[in-house]
């Protein structure tokens, strides 16, 4: 089973990202689950969301405490959230930033990958909504999700021109991180 | 009295008509609300569904396995008759749209959906349900029969109990005049919800009341009627005086009779030579303490002022 934990802020779409991850994994033919850390946090407060992929039906309902992958939507969180807590040392941290991994203050044996998802989003969508770019980057960095699956899910969710823009953002992030 | 009068019995010879409010109900002798039920069913006819909250009229009419109702009837609980009626109306709307053959009645418009509750069930505990029903615009006629206290449970004060009335929870005493508030204005509350047709009526004028029921039923959307119906037990008077006291309440202006359409008063039953409320108070045991001391006299004066102010607002005096 692959377990993913997303760190973000209320309003940044952590839940949407978890949902897209689960839907894309499901599109690949695996079982998937996504859920938020249930709370009453308002816009701007630190939040978490989780996703799991597995070949068999996922029954575990506990929160993800020992993730294989961590996605950080906003580097300002690094100051006061221990994003690598419980992280599998063979795992991976994906951070949305224009900095290089070594410039970040993240203590971990796991691999750290960075992508400027916000910039990619601004280019393609004209707005800093970085979830589809982060989805693409996650797929590129982990190889867990294919571009076709992501495109299918995004098209279903957004449709039309916005869907196309998001697919483009996903693909650019995918290529950038894969390269 | 001659002995032939004593033996007189036409029981087997009297003609009953189509009665949808049946005899055998267990209301007290001289019950004002029982008259209101009679007039409502006469005006509405058989193509009617009545939703009634817990209260006197429910208890006297439906001890299992008896029913005094000839119409369809449902009682649920004390504070939700308006909501139950809302649900019935929604069901009929749905049948009308989706399953027109659901019933023999031709369409939902033909079915009169009426909620009939006492003053406590309506103005107090059930006002949330009533407010929701009116605000959402259900095609329901809500009728509050007002006997000015919780009679079913033994004469406790409600928000319709008039100033000065001694009830079991607002007893007159050394320092108490009895109930220390005036009647809550339900007609205005209904009108302020945007209810298109609001009217008050008294059981002392059945034709007026029945016309208002018919008028309400002829309109779409929520309607609210307030019908005055004295209770000989709760008010402490001879059972034969029910109609007379209802009329006297109208003649003193304690209970003004009027209609409102779209929030405006459109008709008022004008009163010539409005009588002082004292005349009405004197008729009932619940007010007798008012005539014994100075604070009682002050209460009568206060009630008279409240009535005068309302009479002026309504243009009640002819």
């Amino acid at each position: 089973m692959e377990e993913i934990r997303i760190h973000g802020r209320g309003g940044q779409g952590s839940v949407t990202l978890a949902q897209l991850l689960a839907q894309a994994a499901h599109e690949e033919g695996t079982w998937a689950q996504a859920f938020p850390a249930f709370g009453v946090e308002r816009r701007g407060a630190p939040v978490e969301a989780f996703a799991r992929f597995d070949e068999t039906k996922i029954t575990d309902r506990s929160q993800v405490d020992e993730p294989d992958y961590v996605i950080v939507q906003d580097t300002s969180l690094l100051e006061y959230v221990d994003v690598t807590d419980g992280l599998n040392e063979d795992g991976l941290v994906l951070v949305n930033t224009d900095a290089d991994p070594e410039e970040l203050d993240i203590e971990t044996d796991a691999e750290v990958v960075t992508v400027d998802a916000t910039e990619i989003a601004l280019q393609h969508l004209g707005r800093p909504i970085m979830n589809t770019a982060l989805l693409g980057a996650f797929a590129g960095a982990t190889g867990l999700l294919g571009q076709d699956s992501m495109e299918a899910v995004i098209t279903r969710k957004f449709g039309g021109e916005i869907g196309e823009q998001n697919v483009a953002a996903t693909n650019e992030a995918f290529s950038e991180v894969s390269a | 009295m001659s002995s032939d009068l004593q033996d007189q019995d036409y029981t087997d010879e009297v003609e009953h008509g189509e009665e949808l409010w049946n005899p055998g109900h267990r209301a007290c002798a001289g019950c004002g609300p029982a008259l209101a039920m009679k007039y409502i069913t006469e005006a509405a006819g058989e193509n009617t569904i009545i939703s009634q909250p817990t209260g006197c009229m429910e208890v006297v009419s439906t001890p299992y396995p008896e029913s005094s109702w000839g119409t369809s009837y449902i009682h649920n609980i004390f504070e939700n008759a308006a909501s139950v009626a809302s649900g019935i109306e929604a069901a009929y709307k749905s049948f009308d749209r989706r399953d027109p053959d659901h019933l023999d009645v031709e369409k939902e418009d033909d079915v009169n959906i009426i909620a009939v509750g006492g003053d406590g069930a309506t103005a107090d505990i059930g006002i949330r349900a009533l407010s929701g029903m009116m605000e959402r615009g259900h095609d329901v006629t809500y009728i509050m029969y007002d006997n000015e206290a919780y009679m079913n449970t033994g004469v406790q004060r409600s928000s319709q109990t008039p100033l000065g009335a001694s009830t079991t929870t607002s007893p007159a005493g050394e320092v108490s005049i009895g109930n220390d508030t005036n009647k809550k204005d339900m007609a205005s509350i209904a009108a302020d919800h945007g209810v298109g047709y609001v009217a008050t009526a008294s059981i002392s004028n059945p034709n007026d009341f029945k016309q208002k029921v018919e008028e309400a039923l002829s309109r779409d959307g929520p309607k609210f009627l307030h019908v005055y119906s004295p209770c000989p037990v709760g008010w402490s008077y001879e059972s034969s005086k029910t109609v007379e006291l209802a009329e006297l309440a109208v003649e003193t202006g304690l209970f003004p009779v009027f209609e409102m359409e779209d929030g405006e008063i459109t008709s008022v039953n004008k009163i010539r030579d409005r009588k002082p409320v004292r005349e009405w108070l004197e008729t009932q045991g619940r007010f007798k303490h008012l005539f014994k001391d100075e604070k009682g006299e002050q209460a009568i004066e206060e009630l008279q002022e409240w009535i005068d102010d309302r009479a002026e607002d309504l243009g009640l005096d002819a």
Binding site: - | E13, V14, E19, P23, P232, S239, V243
Partner: protein, 97 residues
Amino acid sequence: MSQSEDPYEDLKITTGAVVEPNTSRVNKTGSWRQFKPVIDAETCIACGQCDTFCPDQAAKPVEGEDFYAFDLDYCKGCGICEEVCPVDAIDMIREVK
């Protein structure tokens, strides 16, 4: 008048305790009465006021006659009819049972 069966005969509790309409007629409230109304048929003008204001559907026209009288099965003896009668044709008299 809608005739109805005696609901107590072969009584069963129906699903949801649903009741047939018009069944309270089985309950003869005339037994509550201490005073009963009597009509002076000569004086009665058949205006129907007693019927209009009877809470118990007990003041009714007499079949084939031009006056009103009382269904003593249901009359509770409240005396409203006596009060509303415009021609004083009704008297409430002490009932000897």
